[in-house]
Amino acid sequence: MATGATPETGAGTADTVSASVVGASGFTGGELLRLLAGHPRFAVAQATSREYANRTVGSVHPNLRHLDVRFVSPDEIEPVDVLFAAMPHGASMERIEEFRDLAGTVVDLSADFRLDDATKYDEWYDGHTAPEHLDDAVYALPERHRDELPGADIVASGGCNATATILGLGPLADADLLDGADVVVDVKVGSSEGGAGGGEAGSHPERSGVVRPYAPTGHRHEAEIEQELGLSVSFTAHAVDMVRGASATAHVFPEDLPTKGDLWTAFRGAYEDEPFVRLVAGGGGVYRYPEPKAVAATNHAEVGFELDERNDRLVVFSAIDNMMKGSAGQAVHAANVALGFEETAGLDFQGLHPVGAP
């Protein structure tokens, strides 16, 4: 059906496949451009923006000033091997038919193809206009869907808060340690989560220095988390003063409190061989538990935990860069898996120390 080339035969050399980004003037779109331009197997074909058409991508993303690419209008998008869509939710479902005609693989960063059932869109979003495509989509997170990704038609990159939460709780859910557990997830996120633009609440004077409850209850990511973990969680998100980063603290009250040994077994089993997950639980020095700045600019997640025997509680911490593991990095990682590339290709940046609030 797709007229785009098959993987491995792209616009670039014999070894590269072509990739275009729709919504490339946005935050995740810019990050995709950066990753694709530095990727050994992708060649950037087109980058769309309605507002900045004809300008260089560097005029919006100052770190891309070296790229000789100008934005085109989304109407001018051409056949391509892989099409990355990074638009606000609701926009991808409208154009999915066209996108699939243009490209063999569509990687979507919005919520439009994350849930597997149209009724969930009725419950959590404003419904779905192309539910027939939901079955062709795979939730991107390779740590959980590595086997389903190769050859996927639609790759649905996860939500950033959901990603942090799922990575933290997944190994426990898989080890049946969460059966019947009450779970609170208290999240702290940076301002890039809101995307480019932003109104008064997102202006520097109002947004600086906040610890601001912005989604006290009913956050839509609860739907993804429940789907991926088979577990409902009580979710609350706070905006804090950083640009990149999401940190999730899960407070878990299991029916039976596991031992530290059980926990290490579960987490090490799940993540020992994962290229992008690091266990950080205790130890010495300044960085003893997961924190966003330790993974800033990388595709890594840090995951850690602590037992609270006094309160029969288990606390699980996870931290990611929402622009990377929480969106563009996850999308490229999943595309690597989907297309049979080296998993870590284009994602090898190891992060910074010291680093402020990136």
């Binding site: 989560e193 809101g194 109104g199 609440a201 997102g202 947004r207 601001r212 912005y214 989604a215 998100a237 905006a239």
Partner: protein, 54 residues
């Protein structure tokens, strides 16, 4: 004085109230729409922007 439908506190209203005007409750901050004026009736204003910081 009319009671706030959210928190029950009294909301002081000005004289030339018009239907459709938005005021906020000074106790709980809820945005209230004036749906009738004589006597004044207040209802929660529709949420303008749910995920305002997301």
């Amino acid at each position: 004085m009319t009671a706030c439908p959210e928190c029950g506190a009294d909301v002081a209203l000005h004289d030339d109230l018009e239907v459709g005007e938005i005021v906020d409750c000074s106790t709980c901050g809820t945005e209230l729409e004036v749906t009738d004026v004589n006597p004044p009736v207040l209802e929660r204003a529709p949420e303008l922007d749910e995920d305002w910081g997301e």
